[in-house]
Amino acid sequence: MIILFVALPLVVAAVLPLVGKVSRRVLPDLLANATLVFLLVYAAVTGRALIAGGPLLQQVTWLGEAVGIRLALDGFSLFMLVAVSLVGLAASLFAIDYMEHYGGKANYHALYLIMIAGMNGLILVNDLFGVYLFLEVAAIASYALVAFGLGHDELEAAFKYLALSVVGSSFVLAGIAVIFGMTGSLEFGAVAAALRELDAGAVVAIASALFLMGFGLKAALVPFHAWLPDAHPSAPAPISAVLSGLLIKVSGVYAMTRIFLNVFGLTPALSAVLMVLGAVSIVVAAFLALGQKDMKRMLAYSSISQVGYVVLGIGLGTPLGIAGGLFHLFNHALAKGLLFLTSGSVQHATGTRDLDEMGGLAKRMPITAAANLVGALSIAGVPPLNGFWSKLIIIIALVQAGEPVFAVIAVLASVLTLWYYLLMQRKAFFGPLNEKWAAVKEAPFWMTASTVLLALLCLGIGILFASTVATWVQPAADVLADGVQAVTGSWGF
């Protein structure tokens, strides 16, 4: 019953406001988190058994009659589902304490679950229009969540985000129309088969350009990134964590790679474009991050830079490159989620995001400081943390594929990344304690607990990286490396 990944959060979201009338805080918190725990357990524990015999295809029946709901679960979608439920759960646990002073908690959890349902739907659909539809579900929920604080900055960021995001989805829809006009179908498998029969390179290139603009806007790759450094820092911390950790990857990277690699098939030209976009994002955003004084803004620029690594790895198109890119996607989701949550703890305690005002907070918030250090070192790629291994795999893949220039860019940019993360850690947590913060206390229980959970995962995956790659990342990378065969061969209904 993989439709539960979409239906359960939706049903819970629909009843939450009613529950919120009875109990303002406790029950909504409990219900929302229990839903996410269930989804995580379902995906992580039973998921691998479900796809043991190849991709699982499900045709839903309603009152004994087959209806047009067809879902597909393969290695790649399972991998994304696990990432979504894991980081989604951590951010939701964090919100128990963090969202306390915002008010409207039942409403917050309802929107949050709809966003999760949108992402899960996008991961499970197997037709092009469904991709667009669930992209919009997640996006509309996220506009409201970015503006949830109702302050001036939040509203401004949400409106800018909305305006650019709508343009992005319009491009996606235009690309879908082109493909629909050519092949007369929307289902991944049928489209892929029809495109092979047609041999229409030029028109597929037009559609690819439209998709690239649309999904590029959603993934905030560099020429299309203007909205992200506003939207992500302004949102409440758990939402920043989910937007940066998950939403840009699901609605940008996942949708793009699924369509480009599995439906269109990766051509050398497309591969080159993706790699250049990735490399430009890595470098430009890393330099922009260096100059930031606002902690969350620095993290936001860093997200653009790290998504660049993911796209660079996947764009390379070799099995190793794809595996490295996907592994980095997962690691970045964990580590960036962690860093946005710790920055939320800091903001919760001190009321500021300005790095120059902080200082010496490690003395008052030792757990948060330690968790932040783990996340920072992980993204910067310091062994033995998880981010090191994924960057290493990407760089090895680049060298093996005979792309030394990109490899050098990736290495140098990761030095730059280490530099600005150490800068952040030193300014915020180390050094003498700023007297203003003498009364600051460690963050409340759930906030600390969720950051510790993510930090432990970063450490654990770093140590057990070989088995993580083998059990989770490799099946996903295999699906992508199979290219068009993955959907034409086994996805037929």
Partner: protein, 102 residues
């Protein structure tokens, strides 16, 4: 068939272009949303005419209806945002929203 398709796509492209130009140049928040709506009209015309030209009008119709539902949700959210912005700044000028820099 292609002839009719050409005509529709021509107008759809014109609508999308008009909307994008409006989105770039206008300063009133409500005008920006109207420009977004115009882009949406272009896209729905493109979708439906594509289905029409392919003889898949029923599917295309289902897609357009879903698209319209999405649009309603989007417009309601955006207008709620605009009213909130107005409560803060007492103005609809997008230039008052320049505190954050891209």
């Amino acid at each position: 068939m292609t002839n009719a398709w050409y005509l529709y796509v021509f107008f759809a492209a014109a609508l999308v272009c008009a909307g994008l130009l409006g989105l770039l140049g206008k300063r009133n928040l409500i005008k920006l949303l109207i420009a977004i709506e115009v882009i949406g009209k272009g896209v729905s015309l493109l979708l439906l005419s594509t289905g029409f030209a392919k003889g898949h009008i029923l599917t295309a119709q289902a897609l357009v209806i879903t698209f319209i539902v999405v649009e309603v949700s989007l417009v309601a959210t955006a207008l709620a945002l605009i009213i909130n912005v107005y409560r803060h700044t007492k103005s609809l000028d997008v230039r008052n929203l320049a505190k954050l820099k891209g």
